[in-house]
Amino acid sequence: MEQVIVNGLYLGAQYALIALGLTLIFSLMNVLNFAHGQMYVLGGFVTYTVYGQMGLPFVVALFASAVTLAVVGALFEKLLFRPVLRRSKREESTMLLAAATAFLLDAVILLVFGEKQRGVPKIVDGVFVSDAVIIPYDRVVVGVVAIGLIVAFMLYMQYSRPGRAMRALAQDRVAAQLMGVNVDRYSMLGFALGAMLAGLVGGLLVTITGVNSGIGGPISIKAFMMVMIGGAGVVGGAIAGGFILGMMESVGLDVLRAYGDITYLVIFVALMVFLSIRPNGLMGKPWG
């Protein structure tokens, strides 16, 4: 059982980091970023190229993934989402735009990086083995880095000036504007930060799971699930959702294995029941 719990914890840490960027963009702009998974994939491929192909240090590759995705996010916000949000009052417009950007990134990634699964050398070799738990050291490192990034992100949002401005924006866009918050600048920063998180986690996880051009959609769906569990637009909710999903997967795959592949069926049914009782998720607010 200890192994199952450890599996759940590090899966949860990975998932939480994936969900953070998605919920940030949603909270700031009310945009469901369907391209989040594709941004994760792009981050993975940047790390693959810089670390796996060019042989530069992993930290440099991770930095390159973060910067690349931050730039992509900022450009998406400035050139695509901002004009649409300005001209259209309907939420479907941004949803359609987000879906279009997902397809665009999918196609571009497939063209540039090809159809094959890619992987990089392990960042840390070796496996920790005890009577109760077996865990490769690289998963420990990735789990710790993921938790470190989550903490850093929360501190940034809590105590930095841009973080406070983005939180104000998330709470009430008009009031924040009236208080002198530069809405355009911080919306762009928020989108860039959300995309950067996707890129970072993509770069981080490529060392364990590799990356291929087709996984963007499934990653987005999983991220949406975590956000739904935790509550849309709430940072703490995304983290909780990530850990809950990770633990449910790990426990389900172990306990329910005798009954075939019903783990996700059970998770989805549980999610439906949960949402019917608590439609805003664990920490979501009824007003968004």
């Binding site: 599996n7 759940g8 699964q117 890619r118 490769p136 996984i215 499934p218 294995r257």
Partner: protein, 400 residues
């Protein structure tokens, strides 16, 4: 003013003519040659993109090569080959739309689809529109009477699995086996076939119901309970090339010491990048060509493919065959070019030298034992073992 308008019209007409002429010149199928359109309906996007992409790229590479040599002579005519592709996104509804498109284009020979449900879905369209198609999926009903339009494009797992398990039982002392499969129709049916074959050989099947979502990225939770059972052999049923290295790596990192095998074709580079040395010893049906058996023509095909697309895909060792079979069968009976009944007649007696292997194998249609009729192309069943970045031949078998 009128004169200016007239001049503009003339200029526009000249420009349009120039564009049309240059397009004609750029088209490999010049007016002097006839065009033989061969279709592809399969998955070239999403998580399973590698399966269809290797099909399309193999077909395109071979078609370009044949066209470069002046085309193919079928009867009295010379044809340039044109590959018409349709991405069904692994969606049966789109596969039907793709097959309809092929019919509208007058195409009678289509490679694909890549998965069971797509191959089953297109059957009515193929039969109604006189299309022979070459699926890479295994349901026997598609290839057995009364069905007659589908021709299996590779070795099925129920043909390779018994041979592999028997070899491992006799040569590696395998006594117990565990199966794990993605929760999708193809891998599940392959798993069931594998379980049946293992039981028939008297192996102890210690796990037969473990599955995973195809989009799983970290397989440690999936494999933790299976590794505890310590099977001698872990079979990755119907595993996609993208998932194989992740499964192997997780199993090895969890301390699994036994053998790992799959009945689907894999890619050495993908295994190397994804699992490194942990993939050493992994057994799979490694495409229909390994360095030990491939001919100079196959070597050139690999070079051309690599030059055209930047990197070779080992799955293409098998995928290269379908187009060759279509072209060579049409050469054997030119009437079949627009009459699939003639093609079906030719299947019964067709045989030709296999240009892709050194010796000991010929192109012919097989499947009598599995399907009761010849509805499978014969490709060498090469069982390989991965070692340090490349596949080594374990043994070569053949389907009858």
């Amino acid at each position: 003013m009128k004169s200016k308008q007239f001049t503009l019209r003339i200029l526009a007409l000249a420009a349009a003519s120039a564009v049309a002429l240059s397009a004609l010149a750029a088209n490999p199928a010049s007016a002097a040659d006839k065009v033989l359109k061969i279709g592809f309906v399969g998955v070239t996007s999403g998580p399973a993109a590698a399966w269809g992409t290797s099909n399309v790229r193999s077909m395109q590479t071979r078609a370009d090569w044949l066209n470069e040599q002046g085309g193919v002579k079928i009867g009295d005519d010379t044809y340039k080959i044109q590959i018409v592709t349709f991405d069904d996104q692994k969606d049966p509804k789109r596969a039907i739309a793709g097959m309809e498109k092929m019919a509208q284009e007058g195409i009678h020979y289509v490679v694909g689809p890549n998965v069971d449900d797509g191959a089953a879905a297109v059957r009515p369209v193929a039969e109604a529109k006189n299309i022979i198609y070459f699926p890479y999926s295994f349901p026997k009903a598609l290839f057995s009477p009364p069905a007659s339009n589908a021709i299996l494009g590779m070795v099925a797992n129920y043909q390779s699995a018994p041979a592999i398990y028997k070899y491992l039982k006799e040569n590696k002392g395998v006594k117990s086996v565990a199966f794990v499969a993605a929760n999708e129709s193809d891998p599940l049916s392959q798993r069931d076939g594998g379980v049946a074959a293992a039981k028939e050989l008297g192996l102890d099947v210690v796990a037969a119901s473990d599955t995973y979502q195809n989009d799983t990225r970290d397989f440690t939770p999936v494999l933790t309970p299976i590794v505890r059972l310590k099977p001698d052999l872990l079979v990755l049923s119907g595993v996609a090339p993208a998932n194989a290295p992740l499964l192997i790596r997780s199993a090895r990192e969890l301390g699994y010491k036994g053998l790992i095998s799959a009945e689907t074709a894999q890619d050495a580079k993908v295994l190397q990048e994804g699992a490194g040395d942990l993939a050493n010893g992994f057994i799979s049906v490694g495409g229909a060509s390994t360095p030990e058996i491939r001919s100079p023509l196959m070597e050139e095909f690999i070079q051309r493919y690599t030059k055209k697309y930047g990197e070779y895909n080992d799955e293409s060792n098998t995928k290269v065959y379908a187009l060759e079979y279509i072209v060579d069968t049409l050469k054997a009976n030119p009437k079949a070019i627009d009459d699939i009944d003639e093609y079906k007649k030719t299947i019964e007696t067709f045989h030709a030298p296999n240009p892709f292997v050194k010796e000991g194998h010929e192109l012919k249609y097989v499947g009598m034992k599995s399907f009761g009729q010849k509805r499978q192309i014969s490709v060498p069943m090469v069982v390989t073992q991965y070692e340090n970045g490349e596949f080594k031949t374990l043994f070569v078998g053949e389907v009858d």
